[in-house]
């Protein structure tokens, strides 16, 4: 082979190889959507589907490095038992990180309470997490600018900037914020920002076997979450606070606080 031919063939081969590698590196449509400025994250919880297994709480604690034994969690599941006489009994032992495995309700100081089966009119589970409000009260009260809302609607805490004063923990009407026992700062649900901004699902929604939790883009009319919120009867928590939450619930009762 002549030197000229060798160089020619090499150039053709390299050009051909680089084209095929570039062709394989296709763009994931979900990733493209996550980089879209027309994006506002929202969450949909179907309380009919929730069975109170608490796998979401367990997954969240692992995913976000919250100590398993510490009695704090970014998400939790509440149990409501409404009796035939109208009384509401509610419990949430350890944020339901081990699920609900007994008929006894943990009423803290009053001890364990059992509601007889025949007295139960309604009973259901309500998963809770940060509502990522459109006008978040917790962000407004931060004196140092450590907590903020991103352009796509997620409320985050800057751990390096937080002084741990606890104003935001008191300011949140939903009680979703807590003091991180290891980092010594205020902490909260991030909608798994590290996962959703790469086109993934939140750890809690991924862990749910029944699809009771879903995250989606509220600005995309073809998004299943946006469509469900537009077409179904959904509710939000504590509307009267004017925080405009972005977590919507299917099957919400007035007894749910």
């Amino acid at each position: 082979m002549k030197r000229r031919d060798f160089l020619k063939n090499t150039a053709v081969f390299v050009a051909g190889a680089s084209v095929s590698v570039a062709a394989l590196d296709f763009i994931d449509p979900k990733e493209l959507l996550a980089a879209n400025p027309e994006l506002k994250w929202g969450f949909l919880v179907d309380t009919y589907k929730c069975v109170g297994c608490g796998f979401c709480v367990k997954a969240c604690k692992t995913e976000s490095d919250i100590p398993f034994e510490a009695n704090v969690t970014r998400t939790w599941v509440e149990r409501y038992v409404i009796k035939r006489d109208g009384d509401v009994v509610m419990d949430c032992p350890k944020g339901a990180r081990d699920g609900y495995t007994t008929k006894l309700l943990d009423e803290n100081r009053s001890g364990m309470v059992e509601v007889p089966d025949e007295e139960i009119a309604q009973a259901f589970f309500v998963p809770k997490l940060c509502n990522h409000c459109t006008t978040p009260a917790c962000v407004q009260v931060c004196p140092v600018g450590a907590t903020y809302q991103t352009a796509d609607g997620v409320v985050l805490v800057d751990w390096t900037w937080c002084i741990g004063c606890g104003y935001c923990i008191m300011g949140c009407p939903y009680g979703v914020r807590f003091f991180h026992p290891v980092e010594r700062v205020a902490d909260k649900c991030t909608f798994c920002y590290h996962r959703i901004s790469k086109g993934g699902n939140t750890a809690c929604a991924q862990a749910c076997p029944f699809g009771a939790r879903q995250i989606g883009n509220l600005k995309d009319p073809n998004d299943p979450v946006a469509q469900a919120i537009m077409t179904q009867r959904v509710g939000i928590l504590r509307d009267e606070y004017g925080t405009k939450p972005n977590v919507y619930y299917i099957g919400l009762n007035k007894e749910v606080r």
Partner: protein
């Protein structure tokens, strides 16, 4: 103005300048009002990227399927096919490098999360076959009799 006015005023001016100089060095350059305005968007912009770079621990069934496609196929036809692998096998982290082997949670408590019988009308819990944890083979692990990947009672 008299000397007794100038002296404390001078001290105050020095303190204010000192604070402003300290602030210029201490506050990062990207700290300020961002897209959501002063009330909701006053923050250090690079923190958004720091949160995006937070390491994910759960990798999802697709990741498991890259090597364990035989197990996924076996599971998918069973009732437990809706349960993600990592719920029982633990978060993948950087498996198979770190950890090399995942710790499977075979405890009775894990099964009871769904299969402890509760009276929950208006909840999907009522549709799941349940047992009374006190009556049903107390103290034994469920996996001694039931196959978690194929829990069907006919195949037992």
């Amino acid at each position: 103005m008299k000397n007794h006015v100038w002296r404390p005023l001078f001290v105050v001016i020095v303190i204010v300048i000192g604070i402003l100089v300290f602030r210029a060095f201490y506050v990062p350059s990207d700290f300020g009002v961002q897209e959501r305005g002063y009330t909701f968007g006053y923050h250090r912009l690079s923190n958004e990227q720091e949160w995006k770079d937070y390491p994910a621990k759960h990798k999802g069934n697709d990741y498991c399927n890259e090597c364990h496609d035989d197990k996924i196929e076996e599971l998918e036809s069973a009732q437990h096919g809706i349960i993600p692998c990592e719920n029982c096998h633990g978060a993948a982290f950087d498996h198979p490098n770190d950890p090399e082997k995942l710790t499977i949670d075979r405890s009775r408590g894990l099964c009871l999360r769904c299969h402890a019988e509760l009276i929950m009308p208006s909840s999907g819990r009522n549709d799941i076959p349940g047992i009374d944890p006190v009556e049903h083979n107390k103290g034994e692990e469920c996996s001694e009799c039931h196959n978690p990947h194929n829990p069907s009672l006919e195949d037992m």
